[in-house]
Assembly symmetry: D2
Homo-oligomer: 287 residues x 4
């Protein structure tokens, strides 16, 4: 499948008979070949229906804008759909926020440089200058926006201005500042954070210390969309690794960082490939 011919449709709507038939007819009639189809329903009787369709566009009989318009009129309105069509060749623009820890940042940059993340990274923004050289060695612009107790609002304002038009997705790659509600609302379901524990266990600061003191036998990491409530947004991906009484806090942290790298990478990849639908603070992930 070449990226320049692949498109994806995401749908959320009330469940009822006939949706699959309507959607697949529509694409067939316009020369689009369906190469992947996933669906989910919370309840076939009166529930909510979710669908992801991957289709190929080389034999489309109409232009992309006309396709969207036709879909809206012929299918989406009839079924009251929330929907979005994306083209793999239109790379999403991504901005990474980071503080001083570099492990998840470098994993993302490294994957991206190996063409494992289909995105254009517009810039990296940090409240510290430490990682400037690491970032620039990948050919990515780095901007430092210091944040203090007093300038927090100004700092965010500056960041928002820089983001304008340059970002479809924001990654908090162990960014140690809490964003304001105003910021979060502007990018609903488009900010992904990596939390270094298996949520909902160990919300808040220093989860490795919390895990050590609790004596858990597995430690984990969680990638989730950011909402106004700290560490409570819709979970995209989680993973854990086995530990024992021999692990001191430093060792937990080191092992945990490996989990963070993998979990965030998968979450970002799925978002970029249009595999995630958010519904009632949960995610449907079609993989």
């Amino acid at each position: 499948m070449h990226d320049n011919t692949t498109a994806r449709l995401l749908i959320t709507c009330p469940d009822c008979p006939g949706i699959v038939a309507s959607v697949s007819n529509f694409f067939y009639n316009h020369g689009a070949n369906i190469t992947a189809l996933d669906q989910h329903s919370t309840d076939p009787e009166g529930g909510t229906f979710f669908m992801r369709v991957e289709f190929q566009t080389p034999h489309l009989d109409i232009s992309r804008p006309v396709l969207s318009q036709a879909f809206s009129q012929a299918v989406a309105e009839r079924y009251q759909m929330d929907w979005e069509i994306s083209y793999a060749s239109d790379h999403k623009k991504m901005v990474i926020f980071v503080s001083k820890y570099d492990h998840v940042l470098l994993e993302l940059l490294w994957r991206w440089s190996r063409h494992e993340l289909p995105t254009d990274i517009s810039m990296v923004i940090s409240n510290h200058g430490d990682l400037k050289q690491s970032v620039e060695s990948f050919g990515v612009p780095f901007y430092e926006i210091p944040v203090s107790r007093n300038n927090k609002e100004d700092a965010e304002k500056q960041a928002l201005e820089m983001l304008a038009g340059k970002t479809d997705l924001i990654i908090l790659a162990r960014y140690m500042q809490i964003l304001t509600d105003r910021f979060v609302e502007q990018y609903e379901n488009r900010i992904i954070n990596i939390h270094h524990s298996f949520l909902p266990a160990f919300v808040g600061a220093d989860p490795y210390r919390q895990a050590y003191e609790k004596g858990v036998k597995l430690i984990g990491a969680t990638a989730h969309y950011v909402t106004a409530e700290l560490d409570k947004g819709p979970i995209i991906e989680q993973d854990v690794n086995r530990v024992s009484h021999r692990y001191k806090r430093d060792h937990l942290r080191q092992l945990g960082q490996d989990i963070e790298r993998n979990v965030l990478f998968r979450a970002v990849k799925w978002h970029l490939e249009d595999r995630i639908i958010v519904y009632k603070n949960r995610t449907i992930v079609f993989v």
Copy 2:
């Protein structure tokens, strides 16, 4: 989803545009509501297409036999489909072959008695009498058919007669006799064996000894359909568990048996739920 209203369709055919639309239209037009749909293609250009549809039948406008006939004429012939429709309420009949080890046998009987395996177990057949009481305590008939070097052919003949009309699926639950090609051919893709290693490593006898001598760091088990070639049939499911130098052969065996129980259970469940398509000695498993 009630089992008495759920049906499933499995399709294999040459890939080409329009299949999803045709199938979903057919079901929509006859009042069947699609509640799950999975598809796979080896290659959208000239490859082979596979599909599993789960649909609900309470509002069907025609009888089940007429539905099959209509599907054949309206859809299947046009796309040269191999296909099969199953109804969840028509439990598949299952026969378990066993020798002296009881761990996978008991796991299956226990799951079945808890309604986790939608099947009717017709009987258990063994070349030894040891497990008669265990089997009968579940209310399942037990038959002993001793096998020796000299009576092998007669023993199989006897088994085949007993199976006639009473089996849709045969499970070799650590059955220590090799079936003849004649037997295997009669039940193509309907005999599931559990092999106590991660195939294709450690084909043949005593894989735990082989694993011990090789010093592997993971041991596994493999559930596969039986073909004429020993331990080479299409793999349905595999799993592994971590071991170390501390594991002696007995300990490997004990841990391995836990893996065997889980792997075989999943494979049998998927077969009973019509989730498996065999293609070119590989399996497509829609889970």
Copy 3:
């Protein structure tokens, strides 16, 4: 290693130089052969030291009681040790408490009947009569002690009387009553509970519903010693399994029950093999 010759020593004491030498000399001088040795220290400078020694007794030069006395005088007092010597041939007596769910109960009984749990099961106690037949089919006595809002204290008193002299270890195999502090204190670090979530996430009632509503991508189970604080005792073992948006609550429960069976089995086995030391609400598990 034959069980009738194997013994184990567990030690907790302030860390300082010379402990390993003293212990190993002592055993060597009395003809005991060390076949396994594990140690752990929270901090070699001023921390706490933990040790497990497995040794063989056929060539002991003194009787078992004299060995204990000699160890106390020659080694333990000098290093201010908490210590205990156990003989594998002295099976610990175990009592299982259960309500209506049978999955973990049956797993334990089944493992025990296959000689995978070195214990004598004195009885099963339940607040319901449902599982009487299942338990008795394993040749284990079953006693029903109904518990209501009004008779709770009497019921516990009755249970304590029945336990007297018949139990070294109590298993709460999905026992749905909360024990009083008085009960718990009598069996400190000798009551193991299985909680059906990855603690400390989802404390309390109906964790599978909580997990479903939170939309976690892994579900788990936790075996822990029971303390006065609900679901907060020292964790012995945990495990998780991957789930997705497709898992409804029933499906989560079914998958979760498989995790519960395995996690509790491992925790009980380790306790019976004297592999666990509790320290500051955490466990050291020597496996």
Copy 4:
């Protein structure tokens, strides 16, 4: 534990009573504090005994060379030990061989630059020039030694000369040339290779193609010491990841590379920390 005070002793000898006492007495008498101790025996009666001791040296009453001499005379000779004492502050020198794939090479360099691998990397040697810049950006010398059908012997000779005095450990990080027996014998148990399958399945070329054609449900990677027989040397570490029919060969390769990175990292770390003993083509790994 500071690296400049940590030392490790590895022992292999015939098993008999008194070894632990002798070793621990020796260290205690010379002011060395044992901070970790692991042992293993193939059979306490007439088997082989293995031991790893980690001890702290700040209060040693003799110099390091004298300690070794004393250990040899007082303990090792009496028990016919193969043994070696290493000091964590004496970093092992490591050389990495690589061809064109960079994923495991970069993982090792990245871990090393983050102080997760206690080693001095002397150089990287490749039969191609492609990765020169990547390697040098880490401050590590890169040497190209082209290998062709005709110059193989000369190329190895050149490599051996460059290695002299500069290497305690050689890593084949997806090096696509087969080393001669002469080369391998010079570095017995000191060459670690990463094979991109779960050995012993899929020995030899293109294991991802083999795995795809076989239809396995898990793919893996294996780190092992190199011996004269291709892909048959003692296994150090293995891991696997779940795949399905949806994974094409490219996707298998990408997922497999992530496993390779982790498996090789762990194997190299354990070797550098003196945790591995090779015995009869198997490894004892004390972790």
